[in-house]
């Protein structure tokens, strides 16, 4: 009786009807907007007008185009990912690991006492990624956890940043692979030193790579529809940023990195990749804003280390990114991948400062500094005792996502940064792994470290490590001749 009276009263009141109508209208508009966004995303990946236009452009015979005209049609990316001014860790998440003697039930009971919004366990590393509750801050929870005797360690979920400045196309523009010297056909047309390159053409006579050796690119994802990558990417990978199985690149960096490692080679178009026949496994751990969290990298390392597809498995992981802080969970994930026989390659960073993590984990990672077309160390390249080798990092041409390519441009870009140096080394490691699969990770790391061309100060130094990599010295049989 009371309910009937109440409803009659409400319906007599026109305000209620108006509010309900407004809510419905708002929901409808929101739904429409989501539908449009979803359709746009799909179109961008498969057949956006930009993509189609560029596909047509890309199919043309660009060999007849003059070098100057061609250069104008290649994008130049001038963003150098250096240290940001804000907080260097997530304001929502922390990484915590409990003492191993505690059961999962006990650790979760302890965790719940801190009233987290959510948490999940990273397998193999056995550390929790904890999203702090609305009533507290990361700092407060961290402080409380760090004073808990059951906690082995509790760390902020640090931020990662990209170590590159991509730029883009064609072998004659890839001085990093084969430097003829003289005036180079790259932006600014600088004069290069002959053979200031990784000497890959000589190495390819002996090793072109094994398709079952995968190089995991943990980055912004990869444009797996790119004509120079479509046959080289083994799967759509995993997106740790959006937590799905589609590591499509919405930023450009990962596609550029993947192209340096494994762009389809000898296919009459585009560029050549270092690891001619090896394939790419994309893992997206950096968002469109160029930033990512440590926990995504940690999870991606474990995922990549465990990944298999038929006879194919990951032999090399490239990390053209880094953060300022050490992190025990990150170190543990690196160790997990290392112990599984995977060569870990990371960029040193572009701040002209100390080597970033994970590259600074010297025991597990090859830390790669950046050099230029004259075998000089790039001024942006980070340095320190952890630097192992250097590789070309200035105006490196590689693939660029179709969806991000502007009309009139080719889906390639020139870019600079240690992010571009690391994939040269990752491709090199994949070739060694292909040629000599019985070698241990440590042996492959030593081969890469001990075979470069010494640049900079004589002997190993903190800027170039042992020098700029020389793939030929490591992969071409060394001929002992009578003297």
């Amino acid at each position: 009786m009371k309910i009937k009276k109440l409803s009659q009263k409400l319906f007599r009141n026109g305000k209620f009807v108006a509010v309900v109508s407004l809510i419905c209208l708002f929901a409808f508009l929101l739904g429409l907007n989501q539908l449009q966004l979803s359709a746009q995303k799909k179109q961008d990946r498969i057949a956006s007008p930009v993509t189609q236009k560029n596909k047509v452009k890309f199919g043309e015979n660009i060999a007849t185009d003059s070098p100057n005209n061609l250069l104008k049609r290649i994008k130049i990316i001038n963003t150098l990912y250096t240290k940001s001014t804000g907080k260097n860790y997530s304001s929502e998440k922390i990484i915590v690991k409990f003492k191993p003697e505690l059961s999962v039930q006990s650790t979760e009971t302890i965790l719940k006492a801190y009233q987290p919004k959510a948490y999940h366990l990273i397998p193999r590393v056995e550390a929790y990624v904890v999203q702090v509750g609305p009533e507290t801050t990361v700092e407060e929870t961290l402080s409380a956890l760090q004073s808990n005797p059951d906690v082995l360690y509790a760390e902020p979920d640090y931020k990662l940043r990209l170590c590159t400045t991509p730029n883009d196309q064609l072998f004659k523009y890839q001085y990093a692979l084969s430097n003829p010297g003289g005036v180079l056909q790259i932006p600014g047309s600088p004069t290069g030193k002959p053979q200031a390159d990784i000497k890959i053409t000589g190495a390819w006579d002996y090793v072109k790579g094994d398709p079952n050796v995968l190089v995991a690119v943990l980055d912004t994802g990869v444009d797996y529809t790119h004509p120079d990558l479509v046959n080289k990417v083994i799967s759509h990978g995993k997106d740790f940023v959006n937590n799905d199985d589609d590591a499509y690149d919405d930023q450009g960096h990962g596609t550029h990195v993947a192209g340096i490692i494994g762009a389809e080679t000898n296919n009459n178009e585009g560029i050549a990749g270092v690891a001619w026949n090896c394939r790419i496994l994309p893992g997206k751990i950096i968002g469109a804003d160029g930033q990512g969290d440590y926990d995504w990298l940690i999870q991606a390392l474990v995922w990549a280390a465990d990944y298999t597809s038929g006879a194919a498995k990951v032999g090399v992981i490239n990390m053209s990114l880094g953060g300022d802080q050490a992190d025990p969970a990150l170190e543990q994930a690196l160790k997990y991948a290392y112990d599984k026989g995977i060569v870990l390659v990371a960029a040193t960073g572009n701040d002209g400062g100390p080597v970033l993590y994970p590259a600074a984990y010297d025991q597990y990672c090859l830390a790669v500094a950046g050099s230029d077309y004259n075998d000089q160390i790039a001024d942006f390249s980070n340095y320190g005792p952890q630097v192992d080798v250097a590789a070309p990092a200035v105006w490196i041409l590689s693939c660029y996502p179709l969806a991000l390519t502007e009309p009139g441009y080719l889906p390639y870009a020139f870019a600079s940064g240690t992010s571009m140096a690391a994939p040269h080394v990752a491709g090199f490691a994949a070739l060694i792994k292909s040629a000599k699969p019985w070698l241990k990770v440590d042996d492959i790391m030593k081969i890469i470290k001990y075979t470069p061309d010494d640049i900079g100060a004589p002997g190993r130094d903190d800027y170039a490590g042992y020098g700029r990599i020389n793939t030929q010295r490591a992969l071409v049989p060394y001929k002992i001749i009578k003297k």
Partner: protein, 263 residues
Amino acid sequence: MLPKLKKGKKSSWLSLFILLLFTIFASQALSAQSSNQNKTRWEMGLSAGLFDRGVKAGSNELTLKSSNLLLEARATNLAGWFDLDIFAGINSSKLNGALFDQLPVTIDYEAGGISGLIFGGKISKAFFQTSNFKFGLLADFTSYIGFQKKYTLSDFVVPAEVKAEPDWAQASAGIFVTYDGFVDNQPFLEISFSKLWGTFKMSETIQDLAAEEDKSLKDAGPISIALGWNINLSKDIVFVPKLRVYTGSKTAISGGLSLLYTF
């Protein structure tokens, strides 16, 4: 660090056979020594030879080129029963083209001969004789032990070197025929089943990266045919040129000259 390559299947049965023959001949000789002592003729001298033989080193085929200078002692009709030839000397063995692709940095060996010691022996016994021809059995064994040789890998940014160390052995058993129709010289023909085996060891050290690979050596073909001539230059001096051809390789040929003094 690396799985060592298995050595090639050695012809141990052949060695045993030769040893057996040797033992039989020696025991026969000793038993007959007293009655036939006067008939033994001793010769001693120098011998130089070149030796090319096709060998398989893992998956690649190459030619073992060897040259040697030997001190040789020959006893004819030892104990009235068989002939014995023993030798020892220095040898240079060249295994150019051996590819050590299991090492961290692959090594292509093209550095020529490696010196070493060589020694061995040969026994032969004639069993059947016509007016001018003599037929018999023979067996021989040769062993070469190469000295370790170091090479610096000069282009590396860190200290780098390799050490090469070859060794090989060869054993043969077969028949011979000699022609005794000439007054002061005696041509002969030998047809043998000959096996060669050995290893070519390469150790690589690049800073703290060290590895070793043993390349097993095996003959490319087991049959050898030799034509030689015992030429008596004087009453006491014998000159023996000899040419041998092996099956299984175009370059499988060897030749030697011996100058022996009879006393």
